[in-house]
């Protein structure tokens, strides 16, 4: 389709097969960027608390729903223009979901800090079920649709390759957020505190780090990025569902394991890689098995290399 149009406009275009491949690749990168943003939340919490935050996927869904509600009720894009409107929207969603993450930590995880691992896992699962069903009772079980017309459906011409603008924006925005997080963790004093608490909580405490505040911070940062990812999914696909958080959550968790859980650059690389694997797998193997691809990757990586591709921290085997 694209090649036919570009031939008509007599712009030199890549061969159809290459074109198809590049479309799938860029689509995979966009989805992968979204996975990576969610994966960062899993990996940071795991790094500090050694806990799989099962409710993280649902915080992502809250981002999508809050985004929808704010987008339609405030009509920001009409008032201040598209670019500024979306920017304000992203920041509002990130802030609100971050607060939700902090509340979750207080309610579901802090009381169980000293409990056996099973208790925390079950509580996390309970929180996930609770959050998901709250959303269902408020918005209903149907798919919700991001309104047409607010968002530009423009395509971008990159050397004869026509890419949806939203796809390009998502890749750029997710990479921007990841770089910002990476610099924050690596270059600031607070970032150093987070890294220290991830290595050894007791030693960090002895160095005068308030570990509770670090944990709180991790539960603000992770959900903020996850909420932004939810908004991106809404903007990219236009359709959201109250239960989508668990599939995205599982895939993002796979991405975190793929890169090496607890490892922040690993989560970013794992997310992008998984997105590309999935997009190419769906295009060239079978679309019906798309959702199974991520789970197969997950199981394979745990069997073959449980530390992940970049993992320095060893997932203890007993």
């Amino acid at each position: 389709m694209f090649s036919a149009r570009s031939a008509f406009l007599s712009i030199p275009s890549p061969a159809p097969l290459v074109e198809e491949f590049l479309q799938q690749l860029t689509n995979g990168l966009a989805v992968g960027g979204i996975y990576a943003l969610i994966a960062l939340g899993y990996t940071m919490v795991y790094g500090v608390l050694k806990l799989i935050n099962f409710a993280h996927g649902d915080l992502f869904t809250y981002g999508a729903y809050l985004g929808l509600t704010l987008l339609t009720s405030l009509a920001l894009t009409d008032r201040v223009g598209f670019a500024l409107g979306v920017l304000v929207l992203v920041l509002m969603v990130m802030g609100l979901v971050a607060v939700l993450g902090a509340v979750l930590e207080r309610a579901a995880y802090r009381p169980l800090r000293e409990s056996p691992r099973l208790s925390a896992v079950v509580s996390a699962l309970g929180a996930s079920i609770f959050l998901q069903n709250t959303l269902m009772l408020i918005y209903g079980a149907r798919f919700q649709v991001y309104p047409d017309g607010i968002l530009p459906s423009a395509t971008l011409d990159l050397f004869g390759l026509y890419l949806p603008l939203m796809r390009v924006l998502i890749v750029l925005a997710s990479v921007l957020m990841m770089v910002a997080l990476y610099l924050f963790i690596q270059k600031t004093k607070i970032g150093a505190a987070i890294r220290a608490a991830a290595i050894d909580q007791d030693a960090a405490r002895l160095m005068g780090i308030d570990v509770n505040r670090v944990i709180l911070l991790v539960f603000l940062l992770g959900p903020a990025l996850g909420g932004a990812a939810g908004l991106m999914v809404g903007l990219y696909y236009g359709q959201i569902n109250f239960a989508m958080g668990w599939v995205y959550g599982m895939k993002a968790f796979t991405a975190a394991i793929l890169g090496g859980i607890g490892n922040i650059p690993g989560a970013m690389a794992g997310g992008l890689l998984l997105g590309v694997i999935e997009a190419l797998g769906a295009a060239y193997i079978s679309i019906a098995w798309k959702d199974a691809i991520a789970f197969c990757v997950l199981i394979l990586i745990l069997i073959v290399r449980p530390t992940g591709l970049l993992g320095e921290r060893v997932a203890d085997k007993i």
């Binding site: 806990l51 099973l118 896992v121 079950v122 309970g126 079920i129 998901q132 019906a288 199974a292 449980p306």
Partner: protein, 306 residues
């Protein structure tokens, strides 16, 4: 088991045995559902409760059994109850196959893998794998079970089939719990390293728990297929695994009485409050969070052994 415990258990069994005489078909059907869930939860209890292996893909083994029974029955006209051994064997063998490479993983990792296995099985069923599962529509026209020339049709009749199976299961699992095997599983749950140090072949016992629990779930799948006469992938979703996991944890991991009680509460209570059905899962989620803070050992915890 003390005399008081025995008296309570006997009374409960007697009440349950005569219940179909006083209840209508719908109520008996609810009891049948509870029985099936109790059966599945007891089989999961072997893996999660006794051996402490976080399995959140139990629905996959249940599905394996149900589909084996349905395929053998509808394609090869094998009477449905005769498929019980095959269902158990297929589910058990599948569990051994998938658990073998991952069983050494630590708790929450194992949980993630089993979730993944459950999803892959469900997706495979939806995609009509090998052309025998009937895709998203599933398999219908499964034959009624026959026992000694008597065809089981009514809910009241199914009640005795299902709860009879539950009774046999309870008896066998109680025996198992008190055996050397059961003690080995409990030791695994408490401390894998110490168990290994005491000469317990941990991988062997973990796999045995997985295989046996899955085989039992597979047989429960046969009963489910016989009861419904139609099965489809949506009966074996992730949420089934979650509900089963919840039953075991809420009842008390490793406690047969607790698992039975929790089956009644988790499956039965929502039927009593049908107008609140939408909020059912919400309440479950909340209960899970609150329980972990105030009573992590479950409603009727197993007695300490060590």
């Amino acid at each position: 088991m003390s005399r008081a415990h025995l008296a309570v258990a006997g009374l409960a069994a007697a009440l349950l045995a005569v219940a179909p005489l006083f209840l209508n078909a719908y109520q008996v059907d609810v009891l049948n559902s509870i029985g099936l869930y109790a059966l599945l939860a007891l089989s999961l209890n072997l893996i999660l409760g006794e051996a402490g292996l976080f399995n959140m893909g139990h629905a996959a083994f249940y599905a394996m059994g149900a589909y084996t029974a349905a395929i053998l029955n509808t394609r090869y006209q094998i009477p449905i109850l005769w498929t019980l051994p095959a269902s158990g064997a297929v589910a058990g063998a599948f569990a051994l196959l998938v658990a073998r490479p991952v069983v050494h993983l630590r708790g929450d990792y194992l949980m993630i893998v089993t979730i993944g296995v459950g999803e892959i099985v469900r997706i495979a069923l939806v995609n009509d794998v090998f052309g025998i599962t009937g895709g998203a529509n599933g398999i219908f026209g499964i034959g009624r079970p026959k026992l000694l020339g008597f065809t089981i049709r009514q809910p009241q009749e199914f009640f005795y089939l299902i709860w009879g199976f539950v009774a046999v299961t309870i008896f066998l699992f109680l025996r198992l719990k008190r055996s050397r095997f059961g003690r080995a599983l409990n030791y695994l749950r408490e401390d894998v390293v110490a168990a290994e140090g005491s000469g317990i072949n941990t991988d062997y016992y973990k796999l045995a728990a997985f295989g046996l629990g899955a085989a039992w779930a597979g047989m429960a799948g046969t009963l489910f297929a016989a009861k419904m006469t139609i099965i489809s992938p949506e009966s074996f979703s992730f949420w089934e695994s979650v509900v089963l996991f919840m039953i075991v944890i809420l009842g008390g991991a490793g406690s047969i009485a607790g698992v039975l009680l929790a089956s009644f509460l988790v499956v039965g209570l929502p039927e009593l409050f049908r107008e609140l059905a939408g909020a059912r899962m919400l309440v479950f989620g909340l209960v899970m969070m609150v329980m972990m803070v105030f009573r992590p050992q479950g409603l009727l915890p197993a007695r300490e052994r060590f």
